[in-house]
Symmetry: C2
Subunit: 578 residues, 2 copies
């Protein structure tokens, strides 16, 4: 299935001259990642062949309480499972590979990616069991992969992790170039440059559609090279008198390399602490992607035998995850890691929005231990973004010169701004561009390019943190938000059907305000229930659903009326016969 080759020609029948009609049908269906940050997944379909680019996860915000992670709804792929030719992964970040296990538990599909990407995928899959062993196939940039009527070539791009690829996909309608995530790092840490030549080569051949990373499309200028962080690291190493701690994303192999290199230069020993960091580094080291000199690397336990001023710890937990190594160390609850007066803890990672509060709580704990902490606020040059800013996006647009443009990976505002950039750069040479929402189907056929009126089924599968099960329907989230904001009232109502009255009403409340005023409110509510029951006919009293409804509405209306602020606790009536 794999063959080493240069760019493959698109199918003969396609003519890419502007203005001419396209002779073969192609459908692009974003299944995730458009209008949201994460959960990237795109289906590319032609006739009876379908390939998927990436399968990522999305992290739930506070509006999704009790949810561990969000994965894409696979309904569209399930309805076409016999057409599925492959899942191609661009790189090793969770928002691109996090849902691979979810996909493989439901679909029998080979997975393609670079060695490092598949290394992390393999690790992830080892936590699940599958009917059939997953079929993972390592590919390299420059190789051509034939998947039905598609031929896919990976193109090396620079990014914040290693072995990242853009994908040039030869389709019956022409070339589709999908950038994956990238930045244009002119001085990459591993020396492997962004493959400008290949982008230009495809540009020369004529690209039908460019799908490009929009994460930083709102940021003017160029993204700084990963190498820019070296200056800050050198300053930290030169100035430190005691132990040094660094935390970064586990897949930030370039960053780990920079820290290890500094440690070699400053004759310090390095330990990796935390499963995610050591797993990713082991995979990278085994692939020759990370140079960790044995004289420098020591086990966490052994690091303690060296003087404090000779120690460097690279530790997992940059996002303040409560059970992470750094979080435990900050609270003085780690077996092997102790953070002491005079130590420096440096955050070499972005604070993902939504995580600030818990990260800062951890930073506060580190200060309580007497450490100096370096983070974005007081040391902004300790991290650079991994995504392309406006000038990089323009460069790619000019290299690739696509006829059509679809911004991917981003919220609506980022897609919209990226689309405007493309219009500025390509002017009238760009036939059309779109800001699509997930599930919209972009079709190329003999009539040209258009968004179909019908949508593919898409959505968020919410994986419950408590049970690990998929949460079905919106009702659970709706209830949780309401429970979370207002609590729950359980009116236990005993009804004497003959007398037509509630002989006993007790309201149990949890998470409802505990004040004296609230107690009085509940007492009044009891009377409101009794009145509602007294007003009901015999026939109504015989119908449990009607009675439950009446109690629920009675309680909700009474509480809302009495609280001008509109308290809306969840009401769970329990009705008993006298």
């Amino acid at each position: 299935m794999l063959s080493r080759a240069g760019p493959t020609a698109p199918c003969d029948s396609v003519d890419l001259d502007h203005g001419e009609k396209l002779s073969n049908e192609l459908r692009i269906i974003p299944l995730g990642g458009l209008g949201e940050f994460g959960m990237n997944m795109m289906a590319i379909e032609s006739g009876s062949d379908l390939i998927v680019v990436d399968a990522g996860t999305l992290f739930p915000g506070p509006e999704r309480p009790g949810i561990d992670v969000i994965v894409p709804d696979l309904a569209y792929l399930l309805s076409r499972k016999e057409n599925l030719r492959g899942l191609v992964l661009t790189h090793a970040h969770q928002d691109h590979i996090g849902a691979v296990a979810h996909v493989l538990s439901r679909l029998d599909v080979p997975v393609y990616g670079t060695a490092f990407t598949l290394g992390l995928v393999r690790k992830q899959l080892s936590e699940f069991s599958f009917h059939k062993p997953p079929h993972l196939v390592t590919i390299k940039p420059g190789e051509s992969l034939v998947l039905g009527r598609f031929t896919v070539e990976g193109i090396h791009v620079t990014h914040s992790t290693v072995q990242c690829m853009a994908l040039a996909i030869s389709t019956p309608a022409g070339y589709v170039l999908h950038t994956g995530d990238f930045k244009i790092d002119q001085t990459p840490i591993d020396g492997r440059k962004f493959d400008f030549a290949k982008f230009a080569e495809y540009g020369d051949r004529g690209v039908l559609l460019l799908c490009s990373d929009s994460t930083n499309s709102d940021v003017p200028g160029f993204c700084k090279s990963e190498r820019a962080v070296t200056t800050a690291l050198d300053r930290i190493f030169s100035g430190a008198e005691e132990a040094l701690f660094f935390t970064c994303f586990s897949s930030a192999i370039h960053r780990v390399q920079q820290i290890v290199d500094q440690a070699v230069e400053h004759r310090r020993k390095v330990a990796l602490v935390g499963r995610s960091v050591s797993t990713a580094c082991d995979i990278a080291a085994n692939l020759g992607l990370l140079r960790m000199p044995p004289g420098t690397m020591v086990r966490p336990h052994d690091l303690r035998t060296y003087p404090r001023r000779d120690r460097v710890t690279i530790i997992a937990g940059s996002q303040g995850e409560p059970m992470s190594s750094l979080s435990r160390a900050a609270r003085g609850r780690h077996n092997t890691v102790e953070i002491e007066e005079g130590d420096v803890v440096a955050f070499s990672a972005k604070m993902i929005p939504g995580n600030e509060a818990r990260i800062y709580r951890m930073v506060d704990h580190l200060y309580r231990q007497g450490a100096s902490v370096l983070y974005g606020g007081n040391c902004p040059d300790l991290h650079v973004s991994g995504h392309p800013c406006q000038e990089e996006l323009k460069l790619v647009l000019n290299l690739v010169r696509p006829r059509y443009f679809l911004p991917v990976h981003g919220d609506y505002r980022q897609l919209a701004q990226h689309r405007r950039l493309a219009s500025e750069v390509r002017g009238r040479e760009l036939e059309e561009s779109w800001v699509l929402e997930n599930g919209q189907i972009l079709q190329f056929d003999e009539f040209g390019a258009r968004v179909l009126p019908d949508k593919a089924p898409v959505g968020h599968c919410l994986i419950d943190a408590g049970t690990g099960e998929e949460v079905l329907g919106d009702a659970v989230m709706w209830d949780r938000r309401r429970l979370s904001n207002f609590g729950v009232l359980v009116p236990v109502v005993t009804i004497d059907e003959r007398k037509g009255e509630a002989t006993d009403v007790e309201i149990i409340s949890r998470g409802f305000v505990g004040s004296e005023d609230a107690k009085a409110l509940l007492d009044e509510t009891t009377s409101a229930i009794q009145t509602a029951i007294a007003k009901s006919t015999r026939a109504e009293l015989r119908n449990l659903e009607v009675i439950e409804d009446r109690i629920r509405n009675g309680v909700q209306r009474h509480v809302a009326r009495k609280t001008a602020r509109r308290s809306r606790p969840l009401v769970v009536p329990v009705v008993l016969d006298a």
Copy 2:
């Protein structure tokens, strides 16, 4: 009570020479704002006199579901209400004045502040009713206010709102200088400079204790002048072809002035939309603090009669508050405001951490309307901080040259970094400094300065969003978090005491995962309850509490065991007699 005067001399008995003992007792008790962002409040006490600096609110994070706002616990003040001489407000921000109504509903105390500060307080108080009309007294910088044995002088400082004061408080132990919130703006919009001379004058006289704003103590350099925003505004006004919208904090009077000035220059008309913005601007304008030329200002309704390219709207809602004017306009649901293709919406305000998600959702809606949106990400020069960075803090330390230093207003990390700055600047001239937590009592007396072993009662009063009542105790929050993450199970269990068994068990669930697997889990749980009941003795079955406990524990244990991920729904047992 008010007298115009220069700095007042501290009481005669105090000798501020280094090394000598202090002859009069003074206690500084932070009641809020230390170790947190917001809810600033400090008690200053000597003998039977007590004054309070500021009474602010704190905004609840997602770990406080259903809470509207957090105000300080007043127990310490209530226990000394006969000693309370005054509440002195430094400036008009909510984290300094938001809890004034809460204070006045419980304590009879005069409130002092500048005209603008009290204007906003008065507006806030108008929403409440009080037994006694509040006693609000306007003070000006340079005036001395005698409050028991304290004399307080306001000192004009620059900040992101108008009429802000530091407080120089003459106490029996010496001068306490409290900066309030400030920045050192060398080119303030209203031309009223930071009063360096007064700071220096107190420095010359000798200051016992400096309490200084730590919000930006982790940021190197100087904070940019408010005037720095003018360049960005001018660029926006010059380039815009259609209607312009600006959103900022309602009390950001300088910012409003800059926008109005630009509108005059570019011959546009300005409307203020949103109650909070127009209230604050009206108060400022009436005090001569905001120049709004009548030919420029028009009512929102009338703005529509002008061509789009002549319109400017200053609109409330920079934090994405769901019911704000901007939020409604973004969704096309505002009566008078329409945002259309080609309009520019500019955010001239900080995104408060925690609000990003909803702000960005609003930005996405604005893009859907076809607007261009300028915000921190794509236009960082549209806002500057209002708080002092490290060089400004150093300058104040060198002007005031205090013997003791207490960093205030900030999380632990900011207080700790501010304390280190003070050590660097003052070296051995600083006798001592502290990072205190709320409630710790800093005492100055004949034995010197020390933190007392006992703490004052402090805490967060959580005001429930639903009922407007104070949430008493931690149990409600605990329950809400649990309800929010896992939902609620209501096992309704009918027990036949004679038979010693559960004749009927039904489990009602809400907010619990809705999957088939979860239904199976609940069925099993039913059996677990029946087993638990069958194992109970007659005596136990007669004790409702024991039985409820047994059911609750049985359900919780069963669900936890069956969900390796440890689901912990709230369990509310309802037990009935057969």
